[in-house]
C-alpha cells in the first residue's frame, strides 16, 4: 500500500515586518529580508486552522480519521489543542487526536506517526497541521529571524500525490535552543557551537543516514528540502556538504517568512510540492533534537490536486508593517494601560460546552419550514445558543444544522469603533449577510490596507478572542477575502 501525502495547505499571516525596522529600533546587526508576524488575534492554533482548512479545501472532511497538531507554542499545556482544532475544522468525533510538541521537529514527527498509522491500517487518513508563533525577547537574533506560519498535510493511501518511500530518524538531546516551563522567550547557547555541533553536523548525519539506508545518492533527488537556522549561511553550506546542485536546493523561505519552527520544514515541503512534477523524488528533512528525514516520490496524481492557497499565494498577498511598536503590542510583550471600559464578560465553560459547535465550528441552523439559515446571535448582544424558533416564520423546532464557516459574506453595514478596548484599534465590526442566507455580526480582522465598504465581500476566519483566567477562547471573525 502506497502511503503518502494526499493534499497540502499552508498559511502565512498577512503582516510582514521588514527586518531593518528591528535594527532601527534596537540597533545591532542588520538582517536582510522580512519576517511574517501574527496579528494580535492569531496564534499557532489559528494559523494551523488556516493551513488545515487550505489542505482540506475540496477534500471530504468526514473521511479524516485523525488530526495531529504539531507546535512548540500551544495555548494550553493541559487541554488538547488537536481537539479544539478538530472541532473548528468540523472533523468527526470518532477520530484519533494528538498534540506533538516540545521539539521543532514536531511537524515531521507527526507526519511519521500519521504515516505509520495509515500503513498499519488503524486509520485511512490523518491530517497533520503544524503552526508556530515562537516568542523572542527584544533586540536579539531570534526576534528578527523567526517567522509565524503554519502548514498542513493530509496523509493517506488513496489519491496520494507523493508517496513516502522511506524514512530515517535520529534522536539527539543537544540543548542548542530551549525554553523551559514558565518561560516566555526562547534561549540559545552560543551560535557557532550550536551550528557546528548541531545543525551542520547532525542534519548532515541524518540526511546521509537516509541515503545510506536506502542506497540512494543526493543527486537522485529533484529537490532536497531541509530546515534552516537563524540565518541562511549554514543552509547554503549544507548544500555544499551534500554536494547539491543549485536547482536541487529548496528555498529556505528565510527572507520572506523567517524560521517558522516546527512548521518550517512542512512549509518548505508545501512550496516544493507546488512546483513538483510527477516522477520527482523529494528528500525532506527536519532538524531539532535530532533529525527526521524522508524520501518522497511524486505521483501523477499531483496534477489533479487543485491549486491551494499554499505558500506561493500566501507569500504574494501581504501588508508590510512600518513600526516596531505595533509588533510589541500585538505580541503582548509590553504592558498596555488598562482601558477604563467595561470588562470582558467572563467565560462560562458550561455555556461553551453546550454551544461548542456554535462557537468553535460556526454552526447555525436552517429552518426546514422556510429555508432561512440563521446564526444564533439571537439576544440583545449575541447570545450563543442554538435557535429553536425561526426568526422569519416562527416555526418551532424545525431546525437542521447549518455551517457558516465556509460561506462567503457581504458587508451590509459596519463600524470602525475607536472607543472599544482593542489591541488593534479601531475595533471593526461588520454586519454580514451570507451568500446562501443568514446574517450575523462579527469583528473584522486583517483589515489593514483595504478601505472597508458596504457591499464588500468577506470570508470567515478562526481567531483567538481573549484569554480569561488562563482560558484561551477562540472564535470567528470576518476578513477581506485574501485571494
Amino acid at each position: 500500500m502506497a502511503v503518502g501525502i494526499v493534499s497540502y495547505g499552508a498559511y502565512i499571516p498577512l503582516h510582514r515586518m521588514p527586518r531593518d525596522i528591528f535594527q532601527k529600533a534596537w540597533g545591532g546587526a542588520k538582517m536582510p529580508g522580512e519576517r511574517s508576524v501574527c496579528n494580535f488575534d492569531e496564534d499557532s492554533m489559528t494559523m494551523a486552522w488556516e493551513a488545515a482548512a487550505d489542505c482540506m479545501r475540496g477534500n471530504d472532511i468526514s473521511k479524516v480519521d485523525g488530526l495531529y497538531f504539531a507546535t512548540t507554542t500551544t495555548s494550553f499545556l493541559e487541554r488538547l489543542g488537536a481537539s479544539i482544532l478538530a472541532t473548528a475544522l468540523d472533523l468527526r468525533e470518532d477520530i484519533r487526536t494528538m498534540d506533538v510538541t516540545d521539539t521543532l521537529r514536531a511537524g515531521t514527527t507527526a507526519v511519521a506517526a500519521a504515516a505509520d498509522a495509515v500503513k498499519a491500517g488503524t486509520a485511512k487518513s490523518i491530517l497533520v497541521a503544524a503552526g508556530e508563533h515562537r516568542m523572542a525577547a527584544c533586540a536579539g537574533d531570534f526576534e528578527m529571524a523567526l517567522g509565524d506560519a503554519a502548514a498542513a498535510v493530509l496523509i493517506g493511501s488513496d489519491k496520494v500525490i507523493a508517496t513516502i518511500e522511506g524514512s530515517y530518524h535520529i534522536s539527539d538531546e543537544f540543548a542548542g535552543v530551549w525554553r523551559a516551563e514558565g518561560e516566555q522567550f526562547i534561549r540559545a547557547w552560543e551560535d557557532r557551537m550550536v551550528y557546528d555541533k548541531g545543525y551542520s553536523e547532525i542534519l548532515e548525519k541524518g540526511i546521509k543516514g537516509l541515503l545510506k539506508k536506502y542506497d540512494l545518492k543526493a543527486s537522485d533527488f529533484a529537490k532536497v528540502v531541509y530546515d534552516t537556522t537563524l540565518e541562511t549561511r549554514r543552509h547554503a553550506q549544507m548544500a555544499k556538504q551534500l554536494k547539491l546542485a543549485d536547482d536541487q536546493v529548496q528555498d529556505p523561505l528565510f527572507d520572506t517568512v523567517g524560521n517558522a519552527g516546527s512548521a518550517h520544514a512542512m512549509m518548505m515541503l508545501v512550496a516544493a510540492l507546488e512546483e513538483a512534477k510527477p516522477g520527482d523524488k523529494i528528500l525532506w528533512a527536519s532538524y531539532s533534537n535530532g533529525v527526521d528525514a524522508f524520501i518522497l516520490q511524486v505521483t501523477d496524481q499531483i496534477k489533479k490536486l487543485k491549486e491551494r492557497r499554499g505558500v506561493k499565494n500566501h507569500l504574494s498577498v501581504k501588508k508590510l508593517m512600518d513600526n516596531n511598536d505595533r509588533y510589541l503590542r500585538w505580541r503582548k510583550i509590553v504592558p498596555l494601560e488598562k482601558s477604563r471600559r467595561s470588562e470582558q464578560s467572563p467565560v462560562s465553560i458550561a455555556n461553551l460546552r453546550r454551544d461548542s459547535k456554535v462557537a468553535l465550528a460556526l454552526y447555525g441552523v436552517k429552518c426546514k419550514n422556510c429555508g432561512t439559515p440563521q446564526y444564533s446571535q439571537g439576544g440583545s448582544y449575541g447570545y450563543f445558543t442554538p435557535l429553536r424558533v425561526c426568526v422569519d416564520c416562527q416555526a418551532v423546532d424545525q431546525m437542521e444544522p447549518y455551517k457558516f464557516s465556509d460561506k462567503i459574506g457581504k458587508i451590509f453595514t459596519y463600524t470602525e469603533d475607536r472607543l472599544a478596548d482593542s489591541n488593534d484599534p479601531p475595533t471593526t465590526v461588520t454586519v454580514v449577510d451570507f451568500v446562501g442566507g443568514g446574517r450575523a455580526l462579527f469583528d473584522m480582522t486583517d483589515r489593514g490596507g483595504q478601505e472597508i465598504k458596504v457591499g464588500m465581500e468577506v470570508e470567515m476566519t478562526f481567531r483567538k478572542l481573549f484569554v480569561d483566567r488562563g482560558f484561551h477562547q477562540y472564535f470567528w471573525k470576518t476578513r477581506p477575502i485574501r485571494f
Binding site: R341, S345, Y383, T413, D417, L419, A420, V454
Partner: protein, 395 residues
C-alpha cells in the same frame, strides 16, 4: 388590544434631580431627592402611597423592590422593580399606570434612578454572564454608527452632508440644554465644533454621543377622575405603548439598518391608543431617545414626523428646533442630560409634564397640547421601545 389607557390615569406630581456626574450624591440621595420633589409637587405625603414601581438597571443585589423601599423607608407596601433596558423608567411608569387603571390603587409612586458614575468606567458597563464573552467587541456608539453608515449609503448622502445633518441634531439640543437648569451639559456648541470633534465611531463624533450621567426622576399617578382633587393642571396619560423586538435584525437579512422597527410599531400602537391620526400635525413636542444623533434622526421617520428618507430635509430646515413646527428635545434631551439608564424615561416625561403645565420657563413652548416621549433600549437591529403620549386635557 381591547383596552386603552387613554384618559384613565393622570400624573399629579413629578420630581427630577439635577443630572450629571454627581460625585457627592449616592443613589439613595437621588431617590430621596426625586421622590421628595414629586410629593411636594403633588401635595401628598409618603404615607399616602399605596404601591410603588422602581426603574433601575444596574442594581445587582437581587433585592429589587427593596432598593426603593429601603431608601424611602416605604412602610410595607408592594414595591416592584422594573428593568427593561434603557426604557426601564418608562416601563415602570407603564406598569404603575396599569395598576391604577385597573382600579387596584388610587395613588402610586414611580421612581427611576441610576448611579452610573460610581463604577469608575467610561461609558456603560456591559456584562453578559451567558455569552462567555463571545460577542463582537463594539461599544454603543459603534452599534448605532452602523445606522448612519447604511443610511448614508442607501440615500446616497455624502460624508460631508451626512455629518452636517447629524451635527444639526446635536447643535439644536445643546442650544435647548442651555435653558435647562437640571441638565448635565449646559453649553452651546457650534456646528463647526460638532463636525470637527474627534471621531468615536464614524460618522459619530464626540458631540454626536450623549453623555453618561447620574440622575433620578419620580412621578405620582392617580385615577384620572381623582386628578383635579390634587391640582388644577394634572397631566393625562393618552398612551403607554411598548414594542420589544424579537432579536431579529441581526439574524434576518430583512432588517434594513435604516430605521428601528420597534419604534415604528410602538408609535403606530401609541397613536392608535391616543387617537392621533396625523402625528406630524397633532403632536406638539417630543422628547425622544437621542443616545446618538443618528438615533434621533431616524426616529423622526419612525414616529412619522418625517416621511421615509425625509428626515434630513426636516432636520436641516429647523422643523425640530425649539422654534420649529415640532420641537424635539425642548430640554436638551439625552444629549444634554446624559443617560442614567433607569431614570431617562421619567426625565423625558418630566419635561412633557412641565411644558404641558406651562412651567418650562425659558424653554416654554406655545400652547402644546400633546407631547410624546420615545425611550429606546438595545441596539438598532433589536430594540425595546416605549412610546408615550401625554396631554393636559381630557378627551
Amino acid at each position: 388590544m381591547v383596552g386603552s389607557i387613554k384618559d384613565k390615569v393622570a400624573i399629579i406630581g413629578m420630581g427630577c434631580t439635577q443630572f450629571g456626574e454627581l460625585w457627592d450624591k449616592s443613589r439613595v440621595d437621588l431617590i430621596v431627592d426625586a421622590a421628595k420633589e414629586a410629593y411636594e409637587d403633588a401635595g401628598v405625603e409618603q404615607k399616602d402611597i399605596q404601591a410603588a414601581w422602581f426603574g433601575n438597571y444596574y442594581d445587582t443585589t437581587g433585592l429589587t423592590g427593596q432598593a426603593l423601599a429601603g431608601p424611602l423607608r416605604l412602610q410595607y407596601i408592594p414595591v416592584t422593580r422594573v428593568e427593561n433596558a434603557c426604557a426601564t423608567a418608562s416601563d415602570a411608569l407603564r406598569n404603575a399606570s396599569y395598576a391604577v387603571a385597573a382600579g387596584i390603587y388610587d395613588l402610586v409612586l414611580v421612581v427611576g434612578a441610576e448611579k452610573i458614575k460610581d463604577q469608575g468606567l467610561s461609558g456603560l458597563a456591559v456584562r453578559n454572564l451567558d455569552t462567555s464573552g463571545l460577542m463582537f467587541s463594539m461599544t454603543m456608539p459603534g452599534m448605532f454608527s452602523m445606522l448612519a453608515t447604511r443610511y448614508f449609503d442607501h440615500y446616497n448622502i455624502s460624508p460631508e452632508d451626512g455629518k452636517h445633518m447629524l451635527a444639526h441634531v446635536s447643535w439644536k439640543s445643546h442650544k435647548n440644554g442651555v435653558l435647562s437648569p437640571k441638565a448635565h451639559f449646559r453649553r452651546e456648541v457650534s456646528m463647526e465644533q460638532i463636525i470637527k470633534a474627534p471621531i468615536i465611531a464614524w460618522p459619530l463624533g464626540l458631540f454626536d454621543c450623549c453623555g453618561v450621567s447620574d440622575g433620578a426622576a419620580a412621578a405620582i399617578i392617580v385615577p384620572a377622575k381623582d386628578a383635579k382633587k390634587y391640582r388644577d393642571d394634572p397631566i393625562y396619560i393618552k398612551a403607554v405603548q411598548m414594542g420589544v423586538a424579537p432579536a431579529d435584525g441581526s439574524v434576518s437579512t430583512k432588517y434594513d439598518y435604516l430605521h428601528v422597527e420597534s419604534t415604528a410599531r410602538a408609535a403606530v400602537a401609541a397613536y392608535k391608543e391616543a387617537g392621533v391620526k396625523k402625528p406630524r400635525e397633532e403632536i406638539g413636542m417630543a422628547e425622544v431617545h437621542d443616545c446618538f444623533s443618528i438615533t434621533e434622526a431616524v426616529t423622526m421617520e419612525d414616529l412619522q414626523f418625517s416621511k421615509r428618507g425625509g428626515m434630513k430635509e426636516d432636520i436641516e430646515s429647523g422643523f425640530f428646533d425649539l422654534d420649529g413646527g415640532l420641537p424635539v428635545q425642548p430640554d436638551g434631551g439625552l444629549k444634554c442630560f446624559g443617560h442614567p439608564i433607569g431614570a431617562s424615561g421619567l426625565r423625558m416625561i418630566y419635561e412633557m409634564y412641565k411644558q404641558l403645565q406651562g412651567k418650562a420657563d425659558k424653554r416654554q413652548l406655545k400652547n402644546p397640547k400633546l407631547g410624546l416621549t420615545h425611550n429606546l433600549g438595545g441596539q438598532p437591529p433589536h430594540c425595546t421601545i416605549f412610546c408615550g403620549i401625554f396631554g393636559r386635557e381630557l378627551g
